[in-house]
């Protein structure tokens, strides 16, 4: 299939997604190894991207801070 370089691209939007982006895959592994945090993770979109369960943002932030991390929070 050829793509028109100026045409509109077909896409699906996923809104109100809560996710965690880590600097590297090892850090993502470290987060997933934390039992309480792993319970709030719905899945791993890629090696550096964790998808958080809907409505569990505060619990994730609490746990990250307990682990000594200082996450940058981007509000939508």
């Amino acid at each position: 299939m050829t793509i028109n370089p100026t045409g509109r691209l077909s896409a699906k939007l996923h809104r109100r997604v809560c996710l965690v982006l880590t600097e590297d895959a090892v850090l993502a592994e470290e987060l997933l190894a934390r039992k309480k945090l792993a319970a709030e993770v719905a899945g791993r979109l890629s090696e550096k991207v964790l998808l958080i369960r809907p409505g569990r943002l505060d619990a994730v932030l609490d746990e990250l801070r307990k682990m000594g991390h200082t996450p940058q929070i981007v509000k939508g």
Partner: protein, 694 residues
């Protein structure tokens, strides 16, 4: 002269209040203010009424038209610098001035359109009687014009002069510093309030025990009770903290903090009448009625000092005696120990703990008088100049502590430092500490690393140690390691090639997976360049978007209906099959994955997921993968199958005890299994009843 931004805000509030009056009341109030000669549409009349509030000559005339008690009421509000008051406090003040007329003075000012009720949402005002126990406000422009009204307070000054060398004044920084310290604590941990809007015990104890907040004031050896609680209540009333859903959290520092110490001190003075739950002798002291004598007695003390001769001194005992004679609520609230000296101890604590650090009074040999600044605030004298500034006022130590010399501090520096360094000690030289947590909070509040290092460099007397800058850099970069998007918009393209193109065109900036991208801010992408196939809300209930093929193991995903959770969840049970357009995305149940999923999920949870997504529980084939290994193993054995011509005959064989004991198991409607050693016996039994087995 164009109206100031503050005038515009208060004019809006007055207009909103007027629009809640029923029409006859609104017309009558507006008519008294505007005095229109013709009948005008209501909205036009109300607009003119609000515009009149900022017209000094007209307001002066309207104030003159009021009864004397109402004029004094407006003067009290004006001199307090606080436009919003509880009605009961105002009635207390008027009673102390000798106008025990009840609600009448407030009602006259409300009817004249010079006072307005503080209304809750959608509240309609049919008359002013309901306002009697509520709050009112006035336009600051009106309050300012009323300040000239004489309150006829006595001059309590003494002839005798203290020795000039004994006069002491404060630098005015004590309370701004404490408020900044409490702001920092609330920023770190917001404070929840009870349903009655009071502090929980744990927070009360924390504030009472806090070393920084409880530091004795620098200039006078007077320790107020619960000074940390007062700092919290004060910070909440002067805009440093905001209350939302019963929780106090840190707000951004008000712009007044950029305007010099005197502007901040006036703001603190204006907030004093709004602090009810604190008392100079008892500390945190909430009352059942929510009304304390502190706001009114405090204001009367200032006004009595303002009424005294500017060059003479007042003895606190005389102030206490006047309050004792005129302020019944205050007299009645004094603890027994303070009654013996007619409340002098209360007045001294208020003067030395509140008025002195605010630079409102100067003290000499147990006498007090208003400072030039105090006379500016309460007697309309010209404003003094802001103190000279000394920009180089701090010293950053290699251990990441900051020593700040108080002479060079001003509210702007206090506010900036508070954002990224923790107050550790207040005194002639204050100490702060740089920490990872506070650096993180500063970054979260919008401050950048260059802003922090620039502040330190700008105000430092010596170069900032490179190790400290490195430390800040390290803490700041730590924050970059994890980014949490609370509500991002993810864009899923149909192929990785399309995602590449979207990145090249700047539609999205981050590649999350081979097909999913996102803008740098996690916000909405430019939709003009996209053809939307579907829109999914991550927080919505999961939709049914998977079909299970007849084989029970192949799962086909409806791409348009699928959501993001499906993609990550389905991978727990099945592996993707190679793409074969134009067919749907397909997966195959994987026995290993299913068993691994079963380690963290129960069968009921797996069934629930399949029911949500496919409309039916896990397929029998899936159950075979999942449960097969857990049950007893299948048995292989050599058996003989006998098939009868009809189900009825089979039923008979299984019912008749002589044959039933020889049958091992029924396989179907007409088939049974018999073990080899019973075969001949069954053949004989059947032949006895005339059935020959072939």
């Amino acid at each position: 002269m164009p109206p100031s931004p503050n005038d515009v805000i208060w004019s809006d509030r007055c207009r909103q209040a007027l629009s809640r009056y029923i029409e006859p009341l609104a017309r009558s109030v507006a008519a008294l203010l505007v005095r229109p000669r013709t009948n005008q549409p209501l909205n036009e009349l109300l607009d003119k009424a609000v515009a009149t509030l900022t017209n000094p000559p007209v307001i002066d005339r309207r104030i003159r038209d009021l009864p004397e008690s109402s004029r004094k009421l407006l003067a009290l509000i004006g001199l307090s610098h606080q436009p919003r008051w509880k009605v009961e406090h105002l009635l207390t003040l008027l009673a102390a001035l000798g106008y025990a007329e009840g609600f009448a003075p407030v009602q006259s000012a409300l009817e004249a359109g010079l006072l307005f009720p503080v209304l809750t949402t959608d509240q309609q005002v049919e008359s002013f009687t309901a306002v009697a126990t509520a709050e009112i406000f006035t336009h600051p422009a009106v309050a300012t014009r009323a300040c000239g009204v004489s309150l006829d307070l006595p001059d309590l000054a003494k002839e005798e002069q203290p020795a000039l060398h004994a006069i002491r004044t404060a630098d005015g920084l004590d309370w701004p510093l404490r408020l900044a310290a409490v702001w920092q604590q609330v920023q770190a941990a917001p404070i929840r309030l009870t349903q009655a809007n009071l502090l929980f015990k744990k927070d009360l104890h924390r504030l009472q025990a806090d070393d920084v907040l409880s530091t004795p004031p620098m200039d006078l050896a007077l320790c107020l009770p619960d000074v940390g609680v007062l700092a919290l209540l004060w910070a909440a009333k002067c805009g440093l903290l905001t209350e939302h859903n019963g929780e106090l959290s840190a707000a951004t520092f008000p712009t007044t903090w950029e305007q010099g110490i005197l502007a901040v001190l006036i703001e603190l003075v204006a907030a004093l009448p709004r602090i009810d739950n604190w008392n100079p002798l008892l500390g945190y002291n909430p009352t059942e009625t929510g009304l304390s004598p502190t706001p009114t007695a405090g204001l009367l003390i200032f006004l009595l000092l303002a009424a005294a001769h500017p060059d003479r001194w007042v003895v606190p005992t005389d102030l206490a005696r006047w309050l004792w004679d005129h302020h019944d609520l205050w007299t009645g609230s004094l603890p027994p120990s303070a009654v013996t000296d007619q409340g002098t101890e209360w007045v001294q604590a208020y003067l030395l703990g509140i008025a002195f650090p605010l630079q409102l009074i100067e003290v000499a040999e147990n006498r007090v008088r208003l400072t030039r600044f105090g006379r500016h605030v309460f007697a309309g004298a010209p404003a003094p100049l802001d103190p000279p500034s000394f920009p180089q006022t701090l010293f950053v130590q290699p251990n990441a502590e900051i020593l700040v010399y108080r002479q060079g501090l001003n509210p702007a520096v206090i506010a900036t430092l508070s954002r990224f360094a923790r107050w550790k000690g207040l005194g002639p030289a204050c100490t702060l500490e740089l920490s990872a947590e506070q650096t993180y909070r500063a970054l979260e509040s919008g401050m950048t690393l260059p802003m922090m290092s620039q502040t330190l460099t700008q105000y430092s007397t010596r170069p900032v140690p490179p190790a400290v800058i490195d430390l800040l850099q390290r803490w700041a970069s730590k924050r970059e390691r994890i980014t949490v998007f609370s509500s991002a918009v993810l864009v899923e393209f149909t192929s990785s090639t399309e995602l590449d193109q979207a990145i090249n065109r700047g539609i999205v900036a981050l590649r999350l997976t081979d097909r999913i991208g996102m803008t740098a801010s996690g916000g909405e992408p430019g939709l003009a360049q996209l053809r939307l196939l579907a829109n999914r809300d991550y927080e919505a209930k999961p939709q049914r978007c998977v079909t299970v093929d007849e084989d029970g193991v192949t799962l086909s995903v409806d791409a348009a209906a699928a959501d993001l959770l499906l993609d990550v969840e389905i991978g727990r049970f099945a592996s993707p099959l190679p793409p074969a357009p134009p067919t749907a995305r397909r997966y195959r149940l994987d026995p290993d994955l299913l068993r691994r999923a079963a380690e963290s999920l129960s069968l009921a949870e797996i069934d629930a997921w399949f029911t949500d997504r496919t409309g039916q529980p896990l397929s029998p084939a899936g159950r075979l993968f999942l449960l097969g290994p857990q049950l007893s193993p299948p048995i292989s054995a050599r058996l003989t199958v006998i098939r009868f011509p009809t189900p009825e005959l089979t039923d008979g064989v299984l019912q008749w005890p002589d044959t039933r004991r020889l049958i091992r198991e029924r396989l179907g409607p007409t088939a049974v299994v018999v073990e080899l050693e019973n075969m001949e016996l069954l053949r004989k039994v059947l032949s006895d009843i005339g059935i020959a087995m072939v």
